[in-house]
């Protein structure tokens, strides 16, 4: 067992430099490891308790998630898949990753079912696969920028850790089939659909980290379910406790991502002090139409893009040029007005009200990372 773990760690070092190599190299290496594990440990043929229930839960969660995100595309918009949709190309794209997924899960199952009582073995095999996936995927990120590092840590590292914890738990409770089903639905769907919803990095990171945890909690609950309950009482408790919490969380996510009419933004300077201070969060009403731009008057706090950065300053003059609106602005705490004109196309919206102080951690983190 220790030898196998050592081989896997050495394999990860090999993987570090293989991002640009043909994925079949990694797939075949995993296939070899899977075959070795099969001959070393065998596959314990048994029908695990609640196998059908686990498979049902995995399918419902995964397909339900895909359905909800595709419907959310009607609001968030879609992006086109870069992959060819010809059948032969779909098979060619999927094949190495399918081999990798099956080999990894068979290896995981062979080891975990053999050493079920040794928790450290379960942790080691999970860690080894996490390390492989992180090293393999790290090449997709340009780590010279802080935002890419954060994206890598949340989507890749965070998502990989929670996914592999879930897969190890699925293998521990059932066998390799539920984890293969889960991974196939989540990891291979990008190769078979022509469009997918433009979730944005924030939502993608949240989903990557949280979704496996939710599914794991449901499966744990499956094994701890009491036979007799008083459903009415529990239903009310659930409604009172959980529904408001979920609604609040969804509301915060929606505000952050700017999906709806309003969005939030933390203020990073004192240019609008004392009306808006550094660390405050402003709630912005987003404007997109000509009618909305024309409703902007002097004295309103305008949120706009200039030279690639977002600025929140007060409108001092509204004029029109060639049928387009032009705004002049000034920070309340600045001695002089801004030296540039703002075209209506640069306008994001108008700040409607502020929430004091709650943006301070985000501002501090941004200043620490970006210097």
């Amino acid at each position: 067992m220790q030898l196998l773990i050592a081989v896997m760690i050495l394999f990860n070092i090999f993987v570090l430099n293989t991002y640009q190599m043909n994925p079949w190299y990694s797939a075949l290496a995993w296939l070899a490891l899977g075959i070795v594990a099969y001959f070393l440990f065998g596959l314990r043929n048994r029908v695990p308790a609640k196998f059908v229930d686990i498979m049902q839960l995995v399918f419902i969660y995964c397909m339900g998630y895909e359905l909800i995100t595709y419907l959310s595309g009607l609001i968030l918009g879609f992006v086109r898949s870069p992959y060819s949709m010809q059948i032969t190309m779909i098979i060619k794209n999927i094949a190495p990753f399918l081999v990798m997924i099956v080999a990894q899960e068979v290896l995981r199952f062979a080891v975990i079912s053999r050493y079920k009582k040794d928790k450290w073995v379960i942790v080691s095999i999970t860690l080894a696969i996490i390390l492989f996936e992180v090293f393999y995927g790290i090449g997709a990120y340009d780590l010279s920028s802080a935002s890419e590092i954060v994206k890598m840590l949340t989507i890749l590292v965070g998502g990989t850790i929670t996914k592999n914890c879930l897969c190890s738990y699925l293998v521990y409770r059932a066998d390799y089939k539920p984890s293969i089903l889960y991974r196939c639905i989540f990891e291979l769907i990008i190769y078979v659909v022509p469009i997918y919803p433009n979730l944005g990095e924030y939502i993608e990171a949240m989903v990557a980290m949280i979704f496996p945890v939710l599914l794991m909690v449901s499966i744990i609950a499956l094994f701890e379910k009491k036979q007799y309950r008083k459903p009415k009482k529990n239903l009310w408790e659930m409604l009172i406790l959980w529904v408001p919490a979920i609604v609040v969380m969804l509301f915060i996510v929606a505000l952050q991502t700017g999906v709806f009419k309003y969005r939030t933004m933390a203020i990073g300077s004192q240019s609008m002090y004392p009306n808006i201070s550094k660390g405050d969060v402003v709630v912005i009403e987003q404007y997109n139409t000509d009618e909305e731009y024309r409703s902007i008057v002097e004295g309103e706090v305008l949120v706009f893009k200039h030279d690639g950065i977002i600025i929140v300053h007060r409108v001092t003059k509204v004029s029109e040029r060639d049928g387009r609106l032009v705004f002049n602005t000034k920070g309340d705490n600045n001695n002089t007005a801004d030296s540039y004109d703002i075209d209506q196309s640069q306008v994001i919206g108008v700040a409607r009200f502020k929430i004091p102080f709650i943006g301070a951690p985000s501002v501090w983190l941004s200043e620490t990372i970006n210097g």
Binding site: N22, G308, R321, Y340
Partner: protein
């Protein structure tokens, strides 16, 4: 437990019906769905087309990139586009720079047709753009294949009022001749047939 299983089985059936229905609806509605460009796939896979270098721009004396050249051409987030903001102080002025894109993944990519340069801001309608590979306009390279590991350098030129057709009055009304530009090349996976028979960059 049997009751729970039956409930879950019904839920699975309902989800499958919903997925089929949504797929049919999306296929029928594709023309009217908001599809904003090609995805930048950040998972551990083999697709990675990106801008890798931007050259120092040359420009007419009356062209400015703002304070401390903040608007100079630079590679955008995710290395998927190049953006720059410039102010053109007089007609018949221009700026030029080179940029390099690379297929850093393992999948051959095909250049799709499209509008490669977009501009926003005051005076954006008075600009002309040229994106060339050598002496050829990049639009003529649509359908060409970029193999893994290969790079191509383009030359981008932006002209303001190239032929000097704007009158003095019109120029005066354009108080600031500033625009923010974005250069974005749309790519999709090249099939094996296209790789075999297509023209390579």
């Amino acid at each position: 437990m049997e009751k729970d299983r039956k409930f879950r089985a019904l839920a699975i059936a309902a989800i499958c019906v919903a997925i089929v229905g949504v797929s049919v609806a999306y296929a029928a509605l594709t023309a009217s769905l908001t599809i904003s460009g090609t995805a930048t796939v950040s998972t551990a896979d083999a697709w990675k087309i990106q801008w890798t270098a931007v050259g120092e721009p040359t420009k007419s004396a009356a062209v400015s990139f703002g304070d401390a050249d903040a608007g100079k051409p630079k590679i955008g987030s995710g290395n998927q586009n190049i953006t720059w903001t410039a102010t053109f102080g007089a007609p018949k002025t221009n700026l030029t720079f080179t940029a390099t894109f690379t297929n850093s993944g393992t999948i051959p990519a095909k250049l799709e047709p499209g509008t490669y340069v977009n501009a926003t801001g005051d005076a954006s309608s008075n600009f002309e753009y040229a994106v060339k590979i050598g002496a050829d306009d990049i639009a003529s390279k649509s359908g060409n294949i970029l193999q893994p590991g290969k790079s191509v350098t383009v030359t981008v030129t932006v002209d303001f009022d190239k032929t000097g057709t704007l009158t003095d009055e019109q120029l005066e009304e354009l108080n600031t001749k500033t625009a923010t530009f974005t250069l974005n090349l749309p790519w999709t996976q090249a099939t094996d047939t296209e790789v075999e028979s297509g023209t390579k960059f």
